[in-house]
């Protein structure tokens, strides 16, 4: 026998289901008045430093149909690459946003500041990116992915560098569609499947 390892294990996830909006964005779901406003309505407030950008996209299932009932959360650094809450972070950037795919079109839109490069351990530098967490009916454990940008230098990003099939890198890169606007579609399964992360 050996000494026991006293470790707990993470609680198992369950799907957020079709009614996640009631709990997380109740005003969006039509439950007005329970809270003053939905949490994470915007990741920035007036006066945030940096370039204001807007990212639109859809989440497509394995048949190519856009999810109408998904909820997404985003988390990011400020324009200088500093995490909200850290010393020197832009106080106008909360960095956190909650948004849903439209019940008719399936599109989502995230309006935020473009983040700066983020420094990690051992001198690693990550190209500007926004982390996403996607939950919906049929998704049993939330899906993590990232948005990178086609007008940034992504060549040295340590995460992108680990993607063996190089054409798949493209699934994490938002495409410029105009001044400060980007398109980022997420494919849950099948041709062009987005790279999802376990980290």
């Amino acid at each position: 026998m050996v000494q026991p390892l006293e470790a707990l294990v993470e609680t198992p996830s369950q799907t957020a289901g079709p009614y996640v909006h009631i709990g997380c964005i109740p005003s969006f779901a039509g439950l007005d008045g329970v809270y003053p406003e939905d949490l994470g309505k915007s990741p920035i407030s007036e006066g945030a430093k940096g370039e204001i950008i807007s990212i639109t996209g859809a989440i497509l299932d394995g048949t190519g149909w856009a999810l109408r009932d998904a909820m997404i959360e985003s988390w990011q650094a400020d324009a200088a690459g500093i995490s909200p809450g850290d010393d020197g972070a832009d106080p106008k950037v909360t960095g956190f946003c909650r948004f849903a795919t439209d019940k008719d079109s399936g599109d989502f839109t995230l309006r935020t500041v473009k983040p700066g490069p983020v420094r990690g351990r051992n001198g690693q530098v990550f190209a500007p990116h926004i982390s996403l967490w996607i939950v919906a009916r049929g998704i049993n454990i939330g899906l993590n992915t990232r948005i990178y940008f086609d007008d940034e230098d992504n060549s040295a990003d340590p995460l992108l560098a680990r993607i063996e099939q190089r054409p798949r890198v493209d699934t994490l890169i938002a495409k410029t569609t105009g001044a400060g606007s980007y398109r980022f579609d997420i494919r849950l399964q099948g041709k062009g499947e987005t790279v999802f992360l376990d980290l």
Partner: protein, 242 residues
Amino acid sequence: MTDRAALMPRRRELQPDPYVPDYKTSVTRSPALPLLSMESTPSEETGPRFGHSLLGPLDNDLIRNFSEGKALAIGERIRVHGRVLDETGRPVPQTLVEIWQANAGGRYRHIKDTYFAPLDPNFGGCGRTITDDDGRYEFMTIRPGAYPWPNRANDWRPMHIHFSVFGHAFGQRLITQMYFQGDPLIDLCPIAATIRDRSQLYRLVAPLDMQQSRGMDYLAYRFDIVLRGRRQTMFENKPEGM
């Protein structure tokens, strides 16, 4: 300011399978290719924090919060309480816990819920709170009804409360469901069965807690939640100074 140690990797084998044919919606919504695994980075090791100023006085009382205290929701009165811990066994203090649920008849106040059980005019179905310094939280609510759902022809969801927990890092983010001790529908539910390991599933079943119940008022159920922990080591390059 924050502890920047790496997160312990998720034990994916103890988490639900993404692709479960009996849960039909998962068939087209589950990635078919492997996830990209690597050590967590600052983007997962940091996360949004919410303070008590966010909360209204009735936010964790679903019996009263929808009517703003003017009337009571219909149903069996329950108190749901527990602790949020991490995998090292330490409490997770000051973290946001949100819940949502059906009413006592098994109906959600949601445009897409067309079940013919009636809406309760005094029940909205959402609540939130922030854990205290010991990681404790509590809600007052009514026991949600079981409800049928379109999957196989006669599938029913066991009584459940949806939970959303933040932790202190974006990589700890968790949504799950709490079930109730003794509900025979748990073992028939294809969503519950997405967790292959039954002992893991039963961690989602809250026991009746008579010690914390109150006579002539409410029954209590206890539900503890464990979030991912951080690796603790002295042998780490720490550019953040932690």
